[in-house]
């Protein structure tokens, strides 16, 4: 590739990202992929070493806008284990409620995007509309729609006031009705079956070798979920199911995420009804020398933090592993051999951040760009339109929009 004379990209608003994901093709089949992820590196682990232990949650909640509750929770759990802190029960329940509300709005956001990638823009509009009340609840409790700043070492910073509890329950009732409608529409639609079944298959064997996690893993029959396997917050006190599917294709990943929203509603209802009294934080004086790990089931999968202390007031080492770091490389196993029209939806099914999925390009063996993101989106939506014509089914009709 020739280097540009003027440094314009990769964040220029008019320019498509160059080679973020580069696919090499033979005709319409993907034969290889390469990925570059350095554009958004912010040196967070390095910054952590300059902060005090209780400042780090504010830093890590900004790693990702939609995993914003999970990173600080995994981190404080590691430090609480290191310092042998007993977190009050009420705080454990508040953490559970906030993290399940996050799971709901993240999965619904994803459902909308997945619809958009294959040309079902009604799903996109609908999903993002019904996501709003969840964000409103989060704002009412924590003051913010994302970046809640609600967790600290020893407990929570903000409590759930009594008057908010019935609001949460009412919203959950409404949301459950809407979700059931969406789930039925998706599971019954023959075009979605044709478009997404057998597409982007990730086998259980490959999944284990790529160390994948979250809905991406559960849709490939890997039955892991930190909330059940190494319970934290109040998950062990609630009755809910781990959702798995055996097929490993994009359709299976859709089903897992939609059904998980219903499980999240169940958990929230139980947590709100059982919310115990008492303080929402324990006092923490010093963090002794030592090391510990903390993990939480973020919407995308297991978020893992490792913390080492030398007895001072800053972490000596703080390792952060977001679930996408192991899930995204598995794109290699699920994409090679597939159709280029399926590339955007296969990547989207792993659920990385939206900004990652935008940076997709197909190149020839000399690095010349054959298809950019716009072109790949067009191919994906055309493929769906063709199926709609062939199958003769009406497009998804969602009431009440």
């Amino acid at each position: 590739m020739n280097k540009p004379v003027l440094a314009v990209g990769p964040f220029h608003p008019l320019q498509e990202e160059m080679e973020f994901y580069q696919l090499t093709v033979d005709g319409e089949t993907v034969v290889d992929i390469d990925m570059r992820i350095s554009y958004n590196h912010r040196g967070i682990e390095g910054v952590s070493e300059t902060l005090q232990f209780d400042q780090v949650p504010f830093l890590v909640s900004r790693i990702c806008g939609i995993c914003s509750a999970s990173h600080p929770l995994a981190y404080v759990q590691a430090v609480e284990e290191l310092a042998d802190v007993k977190v009050p029960e009420r705080a454990l329940y508040v953490r559970t409620i906030i993290n399940e509300l996050e799971r709901i709005h993240s999965h619904i956001l994803w459902a909308g995007l997945a619809g958009h990638f294959i040309g079902y823009d009604t799903v996109f509009m609908w999903a993002w509309k019904y996501r709003e009340p969840v964000l409103d609840l989060l704002e009412e409790i924590t003051g913010n729609r994302n970046n809640y700043g609600n967790v600290k070492v020893g407990g929570c910073r903000e409590d759930i006031p009594d008057e908010v509890k019935p609001k949460i329950l009412k919203e959950m009732d409404k949301l459950e009705k809407k979700m059931n409608m969406l789930i039925k529409a998706v599971l019954d639609d023959p075009v979605l079956h044709a478009r997404l079944k057998g597409v982007g298959v990730l086998t259980k064997e490959d999944g284990i070798k790529y160390a994948i996690t979250g809905p991406t893993a559960r849709a490939s029959d890997i039955a892991i979920d930190v909330r059940r396997d190494d319970p934290y917050a109040a998950y062990a006190d609630c009755d809910w199911n781990v959702i798995t599917q055996p097929e490993g294709d994009v359709f299976a990943k859709v089903v897992v995420r939609l059904l998980e929203v219903l499980e999240a509603v169940k958990i929230i209802r139980q947590a709100v009804k059982k919310l115990p009294g008492g303080p929402i934080a324990a006092e923490v004086k010093e963090i002794p020398p030592g090391e510990a790990v903390g993990h939480a089931e973020a919407p995308r999968g297991e978020t893992f933090h490792y913390v080492r202390s030398d007895g001072g007031n800053r972490p000596v080492r703080h390792k952060v592993r977001a679930p996408s770091f192991v899930n995204v490389p598995s794109f290699r196993a699920s994409c090679i051999g597939g159709d280029i029209a399926d590339v955007t939806i296969t990547l989207a099914a792993v659920d990385p951040c939206y900004s990652c999925t935008e940076r997709l390009a197909v190149v020839d063996s000399h690095g010349g760009v054959l298809h950019d993101y716009e072109s790949l989106m067009r191919l994906s939506r055309e493929k769906t339109a063709k199926m709609v014509k062939e199958i003769g089914a009406p497009e998804l009709k969602l009431e009440d929009f």
Binding site: S38, E81, I208, K209, V293, R317, R321
Partner: protein, 146 residues
């Protein structure tokens, strides 16, 4: 396999370890010299087997350490294998990529920010730092400018 059986399985490799710590029932740290890392990791991943989570590289002042984190989901046990690299001038350890595709990116990242060499890695180019980042500057080494 319950927790006791897991502990027994881990103790089978005791002769290759220089440390075995169980701070809680479900938190175990095994320590080894770097040259035993490959065989021990292969045992943990394939034979026990445990679920691989991530590897952490650390500048531990008198040595480098690579911590391989695993999970045993049946009991919620987290097992960390801490491999100690004594050579600070040319820190190196064997790559796990021959049996663990997940290690490919993980080792590239550690190499990028700490300068540890992973022998037999198929493609050790930069992962997180930009292309024009200066050679030989490792941001997560102690003494590196923040």
């Amino acid at each position: 396999m319950n927790q006791q059986e897991l502990n027994d399985n881990l103790l089978k490799i005791k002769d290759k370890l220089i440390g075995f710590e169980q701070v809680r029932d479900n938190r175990i740290t095994l320590t080894c010299e770097a040259e035993n890392s490959y065989a021990l990791n292969k045992y943990l991943f394939e034979d026990v087997p445990l679920r691989f989570v991530i590897a952490t590289g650390i500048d531990a002042e008198h040595s480098f350490e690579v911590l391989y984190h695993y999970a045993y989901d049946q009991t919620g046990c987290m097992v960390t294998l801490k491999a100690v690299i004594r050579d600070r001038q040319n820190p190196a350890i064997e790559s796990l990529t021959p049996f663990l595709p997940a290690a490919e990116w993980i080792e590239r990242e550690i190499h990028d920010i700490l300068g540890i060499d992973f022998k037999n890695h198929p493609d050790l180019r930069r992962l997180v730092l930009s292309d024009d980042w200066p050679e030989g500057v490792y941001p997560l080494r102690k003494g590196s400018p923040k």
